[in-house]
């Protein structure tokens, strides 16, 4: 003998139903600093599936996005950073040395790709001139989201030793948004790898 449902059975997400305590569907999700749980009251089969679907959707929407999906995306993104195969100036030689046998950058999953369509990160390694600025912005816009920019070296950070020159952009952050600045002229391969690891930390903390 089943109890006729007098109201649509809806799971209570994040609330603990005590006796005598008002249970309200509009209560905010995190009401107590405890672990939220789904309270599924007696439901019939044909009401169970949509209710469960809604419960899981709201669970994923509220928490899974933050706790399940975003972390997996971040883990995949930071462990397979594909920089653009691009060298501007002296820092590019240290960039290349970082891919040699002594400071193997590929063990971090960093593999340079020739086409910007396949890249996550653009490492600006060298002096940016006004002549190349347009091409740099084009390459940046050709990269698909999510994308990051690492300004490697003093020239990309703020113009470097050539800041006063007539043809030099004083820092690549005047053209594209920069996530990581690596100082040095040129930064050693260890500094470059440290910058890559900081970028990975940045990606780890990515929320959206």
């Amino acid at each position: 003998m089943t109890t006729p449902a007098t109201e649509v059975a809806r799971p209570k997400v994040g609330t603990m139903a005590f006796e005598g305590r008002p249970v309200d569907d509009e209560l905010p999700m995190v009401q107590q600093p405890g672990v939220p749980f789904i309270e599924i009251e007696a439901l019939r089969a044909k009401e169970f599936i949509p209710a469960a679907k809604e419960a899981l959707t709201s669970l994923i929407a509220e928490q899974g996005q933050a706790k399940l999906i975003r972390p997996v995306f971040n883990w995949a993104g930071r462990n397979s950073l594909f920089p653009l195969h691009w060298g501007l100036a002296c820092c590019a030689i240290e960039f290349a040395a970082a891919f040699g046998a002594r400071w193997d950058a590929e063990r971090f999953g960093v593999v340079p790709r020739s086409s910007p369509r396949q890249c996550d990160v653009m490492i600006v390694n060298g002096t940016v001139t006004w002549k190349v600025a347009h091409k740099l912005i084009t390459l940046y816009e050709q990269m698909p989201e999510p994308k990051w920019v690492v300004a490697m070296g003093n020239c990309a950070t703020g113009g470097g030793p050539f800041r006063t020159a007539y043809s030099v952009v004083p820092g690549v952050d005047k053209l594209v948004p920069v996530d990581i600045y690596i100082a040095g002229c040129p930064p050693r391969p260890e500094a470059f790898l440290d910058g890559i690891l900081r970028l990975e930390q940045l990606i780890r903390e990515r929320k959206e």
């Binding site: 030689i93 040395a97 040699g100 046998a101 002549k131 006063t164 020159a165 043809s167």
Partner: protein, 381 residues
């Protein structure tokens, strides 16, 4: 009807530097070539007019970044002529040692990039490993791997650390069998020969007319090397041969550069022996007070005094790993040079691109441009 201009660059895995090689092609065949430079033009000559003589050294390292010490040497010889100074002999030998180690490092970097263009992947790792050994030596006495700022007007900044020459000899002993290994990897490969033989031919007369110098003209059979023809620093006292090949093609340039590395090892052994036997000062004693910069034996109070300094001009020519580089410095009195003009060897080598690229195929461009050994920092300055 299928002719078109395509852009190889400025972002291209082949170009090794920031320049644009525009080629007009008909299918696969190259009809015309128009290299487009200037993407790395940093105005070094203009900035130098605002810098003290010793401060321009920092720009010289970055001018050609794979051969920084050779460009420092070039500028230093010219500025010492312009300032009427003479470095001591030990400094001259130290500069030769810097030059020759830099030649080995530059050619190893060239080799790493060149074999990647051919399609071989592992020699890149081997030569970067060996180049790191040479850069370790640089780090032990200059303090840096790539941008050294080691030479000063009047000498060099500091002497060698103790035990350096033994360490250097160990590196040289390690390198000689490695060169043989590189030859086996490349010349022993029939794919290398199919890709590189009789490719990118530039005969001697064309080289001279187009201002092509260095390994490119030596691969055409012309025995021309500034270290022998117009010796500077201590090269007159040293015993070595000039590497020459016959074919004027990509394989010839490869052979010339490998042989140059072996000759550099030969020069270095002589230089290291001399340095062990002749201690001495590394900086000139009579530096004018106004040239006093942190590493000169005069105080900084002489740094900014304005007086009537003697005028002068200086001209230097150095056999750089890419070819012949020249510097012309005009000193009108004053702490800053009035005009600094450099001639880059790669400037001439790329300007002749029409001669050695037209008629070949697009797939031939990476080996040919790899054999030209492009370093864009010195072309654009």
């Amino acid at each position: 009807m299928s002719e078109m201009w395509i852009n190889m660059g400025p972002q291209h895995p082949m170009t090794h530097g920031l320049w644009n090689l525009r080629v007009r092609i008909d299918g696969e065949v190259i009809l015309d070539v128009d290299p487009e430079m200037g993407y790395l033009h940093r105005g070094i000559e203009k900035i130098s007019e605002d810098r003290h003589y010793n401060e321009v050294i920092t720009l010289m390292d970055r001018c050609c970044y794979v051969a920084g010490l050779c460009w420092e040497h070039l500028y230093i010889i010219a500025s010492e002529q312009a300032l009427h100074l003479e470095p001591p002999e030990r400094a001259q030998y130290l500069r030769v040692m810097c030059d020759e180690f830099q030649r080995i490092a530059s050619h190893l970097m060239w080799y790493a990039a060149f074999v990647q263009d051919i399609g071989l992947m592992s020699p890149f790792l081997y030569s970067m490993r060996d180049r790191d050994l040479v850069l370790d030596l640089f780090q032990s006495y200059t303090g840096a791997r790539m941008t050294y700022e080691y030479m000063r007007v009047g000498g060099v900044r500091n002497d060698l650390p103790p035990g350096f020459t033994d360490q250097a000899r160990k590196v040289l002993d390690w390198l000689i069998p490695r060169f043989h290994e590189y030859d086996q990897l490349c010349l022993g490969s029939s794919i290398f020969h199919k890709r590189c033989d009789n490719l990118g031919i530039l005969k001697a007369a064309d080289c001279v007319a187009h201002g092509v110098t260095g390994p490119m003209i030596r691969s055409a059979g012309v025995k021309r090397d500034l270290r022998k023809d117009r010796p500077y620093a201590s090269y007159r006292q040293l015993d070595f041969d000039v590497a020459v090949a016959d074919g004027a093609d990509v394989t010839g340039r490869y052979l010339v550069r490998m042989e140059e590395m072996r000759q550099s090892v030969r020069i270095l052994r002589q230089v290291l022996d001399w340095l062990d036997r002749h201690p001495g000062p590394v900086m000139a004693e009579q530096l004018p007070r106004w040239l006093g910069a942190p590493y000169a034996p005069v105080g900084r109070e002489g740094y900014l005094l304005k007086r009537n300094y003697p005028k002068g001009v200086g001209f230097s020519a150095v056999e750089e790993p890419h070819g012949e580089a020249q510097a012309y410095i005009v000193n009108e009195g004053g702490e800053h040079p009035y005009r600094v003009k450099f001639r880059s060897p790669v400037f001439g080598n790329i300007s002749a691109a029409r001669q050695y690229l037209v008629g070949y195929r697009v797939a031939d461009i990476p080996p040919i441009m790899g054999s030209v050994d492009v370093c864009v920092g010195e072309v654009d300055r």
